[in-house]
Amino acid sequence: MEQLTTIGLNHYLTISAFLLGFGLFAVVTRKNAIVILMGVELILNAANINFLAFSKYNGGMQGAMFSLFIIVIAAAEAAIALAIVINIFKIFKSVDVSSIDSLKE
């Protein structure tokens, strides 16, 4: 019981594993490009939680640094991704990835 009530490393790792699962689920099942990108953000944040939790319980600074870099990279990625998605919407009038398939044989 005490294991469950005092917050420890395992709680953080469980949450991050769930976030990774939800993110992957969104990426695999959703057809909307924006929702897929939201799934990617969940995956990145799962890694973030992992890094911060390990950094707290291992006692090193690198994990916290790494999560800062992940936040910055995620922002840059969102900027580029949205630019590409807007361009796609201008051309195809849709952001549904299953309907954008002019390159199939």
Partner: protein, 509 residues
């Protein structure tokens, strides 16, 4: 928890940063070039875009001077273990700058750009930023640095892929590249976080030491994180099952970008795979599952060789066919990584050099032909043997080299990989056999192109010759000559790749 450093410590940190900057000059130079190109684009707006292309060429060529200067530096890690300088990194610095130069040359030759976009804008600056990212990928020795440099390469590549923004195929390719790239880099970072949790370190050399000391304690977690990290690296090199983006992206992207991605971005992934797995993760089968990362790479390699070569048989678009062939070549490159050690690394580097020549050559000819015929479809290659004799001959040589038949460079590349495999004893004999069998399969689809060019008449047979211009003729002839020359006298290239196979901090052989 974290104490402030004392004055003496700050002094020593500053001193070590000063030393580190001295080993970082080529990257600083390339970053300045990147910014300069953006300024040149702003100043020279509206004028002919050859000014930008030529300043990129000159700028990239200038970086050879700084890389050459680094050859006499002692090497080792700097920036507190973030970055290393060794022969391996130097080899890839030359490789990536040279491939950036080729990408610019191919772009100058491609007439599709004039039809699709008004000005070249940031195109050349992005090519340079991709060079910076790839150079850093080959030299980084820390998980943070690996992640940052990989994302720098990926972001530049997404924009370059979608550079024809009015063109639906180019935009679609960019979207697909982006979605697959974002997911696989996310998985890779999750794998990094597990490794960090196991060891409490982000430096590759320290991770290797900690993991070796731990033995088989956490092998299941290690296995899982290796799998996630291979998802990220495997996406960069385009190996099965992380290949889904590559046929669509290669077909939709501007052809110079396709050539650039297929050679340089793949080489960067290979460099990272070699450095990461030879230094960080010990090579020992796990106690619970009995497998390790070598087994994962084995599966990837066999899958890529078979899938790439078999699916290419049905392709009618030459760019798409070359995309599947590049998946197959990722499989051959993985064979060299599996062998590891001095000989395996040398063979992989040699194979990359040969792949560089023949793939850039093949895409160059494809661009020249598309300039004249406006198509990359196989049926439009009919009768080109008479209309463009030199281009057809050059393309045939490059394709023979891609198959791996003597007397071309591709043959020596495959020979090195397979002999490195057999050097390990009969353990990998079956793997070499699969490699040879799939090469035989690839003969069919590569030879469809010369068949169409020489033996089939074109439907509209006006029979007049098409001249791609004197510069293009000379460059094609030089590339063709080099492919044949190095196929016979390969010692210089093999010496270069032997030089490049020395890696700092390597712990296993």
């Amino acid at each position: 928890m974290f104490e402030l450093p004392t004055g003496a410590e700050i002094q020593s940190i500053i001193a070590s940063l000063e030393v580190s900057v001295g080993c970082f000059i080529p990257e600083i130079y390339l970053s300045l070039l990147f910014m300069l190109l953006i300024v040149v684009d702003l100043v020279a707006k509206g004028r002919k875009n050859s000014l930008l292309a030529i300043s990129t060429l000159v700028g990239l060529a200038g970086s050879f001077f700084f890389i050459y200067q680094q050859q006499c530096l002692p090497g080792g890690e700097f920036f507190f273990g973030m970055y290393v300088l060794d022969e391996f990194a130097l080899f890839f610095k030359y490789f990536f700058v040279l491939s950036g130069i080729f990408a610019v040359i191919l772009t100058m030759a491609d007439e599709q750009f004039e039809a699709e976009v008004k000005s070249m804008g940031e195109y050349y600056a992005l090519i340079v930023s991709m060079v910076i990212g790839m150079v850093m990928m080959a030299s980084s020795a820390d998980l943070i640095m690996i992640f940052l440099s990989m994302e720098l390469v990926s972001f530049s590549a997404y924009i370059l892929t979608g550079y024809f923004k009015r063109n639906p195929r180019s935009s679609e390719a960019a979207l697909k590249y982006l979605v697959y790239g974002a997911v696989s880099s996310g998985l890779m970072v999750y794998g990094f976080s597990l490794i960090y949790g196991l060891t409490g370190e982000t430096n590759l050399i320290k991770i290797g030491a900690v993991l070796a000391a731990q033995g088989n304690e956490h092998s299941l977690v290690l296995m899982l994180s290796s799998l996630l990290i291979i998802a990220g690296f495997g996406y960069k090199i385009g190996a099965v099952p992380f290949h889904f983006w590559s046929p669509d992206v290669y077909e939709g992207a501007p052809t110079p970008v396709t050539a650039y991605l297929s050679v340089a971005s793949k080489a960067a992934g290979v460099a990272l795979l070699m450095r990461f797995f030879s230094i960080a993760i010990p090579h020992a089968p796990s106690a619970q599952t009995g497998i390790d990362w070598v087994m994962i790479l084995l599966a990837l390699s066999v899958g890529s060789m078979i899938y790439g070569n078999v699916v290419a048989l049905w392709q009618k678009n030459v760019k798409r066919m070359l995309a599947y062939s590049s998946i197959a070549h990722a499989g051959y490159l993985l064979l060299g990584i599996i062998v590891m050690g001095k000989f395996g690394t040398q063979a992989t580097l040699f194979y990359l050099l040969s792949y560089f020549l023949m793939n850039f050559g093949a895409f160059y000819v494809v661009i020249l032909i598309a300039n004249k015929t406006g198509s990359e479809h196989l049926d439009d290659y009919r009768g080109l043997g008479k209309k463009m004799p030199l281009a057809a001959a050059a393309l045939t040589v490059f394709l023979v080299s891609l198959v791996g038949l003597p007397p071309t460079l591709g043959f020596i590349g495959k020979l090195m990989i397979f002999s490195a495999l057999l050097d390990k004893g009969s353990l990998y004999l079956w793997l070499a056999l699969i490699g040879i069998m799939t090469s035989v399969i690839s003969l069919y689809y590569y030879m469809l192109i010369p068949l169409n060019m020489y033996l089939r008449e074109s439907s509209q047979s006006d029979g007049k010759e098409m001249n791609p211009g004197i510069f293009a003729q000379v460059l094609m002839a030089v590339l063709m000559f080099l492919t044949l020359y190095f196929g016979l006298f390969f010692t210089p290239l093999s010496d270069i790749s032997k030089y490049g196979s020395a890696m700092f901090g390597i712990t296993l052989h």
